[in-house]
């Protein structure tokens, strides 16, 4: 990543003199936030799924700006290429009128807003508290595939295995559920 080398490594890294990468990072972040808001506020179901594509793709760009190339492409592959396609498939199979969906408004929206704000506040507090003024030097590519692999399988093996067991359980559960449906007719 050539972009990473642009970050200045000198002195204090003040917030008042941001580098090019930092400006782009904030702008893309605002774009992601806007797309995410449109995802939950648009009255057209399929548009919501497509705004989700924009938000998730924007997140991939953020990962790229942080030199985490591998994570960025996996983000595109899994979320844009598979999850959103699954969502669109579900919408097309069930109901996806062109124009305003009559039931796109949920009665729980204020509750949902509260939950979303609480979750966001928790996460922001956590991240801010965890890193505070730590400066991550992007000059040395910290998010290469190799670095990811080493970190994942040397330091985080247990969470990784726990997650894979969880996913396997979900997979088996899905198969069991869908088989039971099929026996009836």
């Amino acid at each position: 990543m050539n972009l990473a080398a642009v970050v200045p490594l000198d002195s204090t890294h003040g917030f008042l003199s941001p580098s090019g990468v930092e400006i782009v990072f904030v702008l893309v972040g605002l774009g992601v936030l806007g797309a995410a808001l449109l995802t939950v506020t648009t009255k057209q179901l399929v548009h919501a799924a497509l705004w989700l594509v924009v938000a998730l793709g924007g997140l991939a760009i953020e990962y790229l700006l942080l030199t985490a190339e591998f994570i960025a492409w996996v983000q595109v592959l899994i979320y844009v290429g598979a999850v959103v396609v699954l969502v669109l498939f579900g919408l097309m199979l069930t109901r996806a009128p062109i124009g305003v969906s009559p039931d796109a408004d949920s009665g729980n929206r204020w509750l949902a807003l509260g939950v979303a704000l609480a979750a966001a506040a928790t996460l922001v507090t956590l991240v801010v508290d965890a890193f505070r003024c730590t400066w991550i030097d992007l000059g040395t590519v910290a998010g290469s595939t190799k670095a990811n692999g080493v970190t994942l399988f040397r330091y985080w093996v247990l969470p990784f295995e726990a997650l894979s067991v969880l996913l396997l359980a979900a997979l088996v559960g899905a198969i069991v559920l869908s088989r039971r449906e099929k026996k009836e007719p």
């Binding site: 592959l77 097309m92 062109i98 595939t145």
Partner: protein, 320 residues
């Protein structure tokens, strides 16, 4: 300055490849199909054996009226062809043509990049299928999505097998680690990858989503003029990308006699041989049904790719 110039030259070269090679494949399809069916194919446009037929087609498409159905979701309908076409242009950037940096841009996770952007291309068909406000288009979109979910997994597993063998997910790194005996070693993965690629491109025998004789070209039913041409172009660009990627991953890309100077020629030969195979399969096999594809993917391709993955792991452990 030199790096900027270098980047510019590479971008233009990739763009040229993107604009020319799909047309060459399209023209080859016209002629090869015709000769396999005992016809001559285009003979008049351009003079020599109808070489300019696709140029003439392009001019014809550009002259047609660009109709948007009144019931359609206008913006998404118009955006869909670009979403279908552009990912293939991006994918070409990362595919190495020859040794010594003869490619658009070497990426650390090039394999994942190519597979990821190819997955995005399918969104174009889905958007077109939904936004057309047409039952046939919607059926095509649903079939596209169902097909994607069936072949995406075996394709990734087959690609992961090669990445495991090479110990890297960079396409240049994979080619750097290539030995001739990888071809028999990874042959099953190669078959799975190529067949899944055909399904991703919605090429016969996996063209149920477009199936002109039953759902009238599926997601593209309502498209006319240039936008329809863009969808057709994306199909041929897809053939180019899948063939090139199969050549790189499973046939050694630019490896061959005198690879130092003629590497690009080997790569082109392998790519176009695979593209010829894609055309040949189109002429040979009848269209499958959607459920047949599903059964084929889940009961044949995925077990095969898992077996290939296990074989790769075993051999890798034994030789290291």
């Amino acid at each position: 300055m030199t790096t900027t110039l270098d980047a510019l030259v590479r971008c233009i070269a990739v763009l040229l490849v993107f604009l020319v090679f799909p047309l060459v494949i399209g023209q080859t399809e016209h002629k090869v199909m015709a000769h396999m069916q005992g016809r001559l194919g285009p003979m008049y446009a351009g003079g020599f054996h109808g070489w300019a037929q696709l140029v003439a087609d392009g001019v014809k498409f550009a002259q047609k009226e660009d109709v948007v159905p009144s019931g359609a979701d206008r913006k998404i309908f118009q955006l869909a062809p670009a979403v279908a076409l552009l990912p293939y242009l991006l994918a070409l950037v990362a595919i190495p043509l020859g040794p010594g940096g003869l490619l658009g841009q070497s990426l650390d996770a090039g394999l994942f990049f190519v597979l990821a952007v190819m997955g995005v291309g399918v969104l174009g068909s889905l958007m077109a299928g939904w936004a057309s406000a047409n039952k046939f288009s919607l059926l095509g979109g649903i079939r596209t999505a169902a097909q994607l979910m069936a072949y995406e997994l075996p394709m990734l597993l087959a690609a992961a097998s090669v990445a495991m063998a090479a110990g890297t997910v960079s396409l240049t790194g994979i080619l750097g680690a290539f030995h001739w005996w990888w071809v028999p070693w990874q042959i099953v993965g190669g078959f799975v990858f190529f067949v899944s690629g055909l399904a991703e491109l919605q090429r016969p025998p996996f063209d149920m989503p477009v199936a002109d004789s039953e759902i009238i070209f599926g997601a593209y039913t309502e498209y006319t003029g240039l936008r329809f041409a863009l969808f057709l172009l994306s199909e041929y660009a897809g053939i180019l990308v899948v063939s090139a990627l199969t050549a790189v991953l499973f046939l050694g890309g630019w490896h061959g006699p005198m690879a130092g100077s003629l590497g690009w020629l080997w790569m082109l030969l392998k790519t176009f041989a695979l593209a010829f195979l894609v055309i040949w399969i189109r002429v040979t096999y009848p269209r499958l049904r959607e459920d047949q594809l599903m059964r084929f993917a889940w009961t044949v391709l995925i077990p095969l790719s898992l077996a290939q993955l296990a074989l790769t792991g075993i051999v890798k452990v034994v030789i290291s």
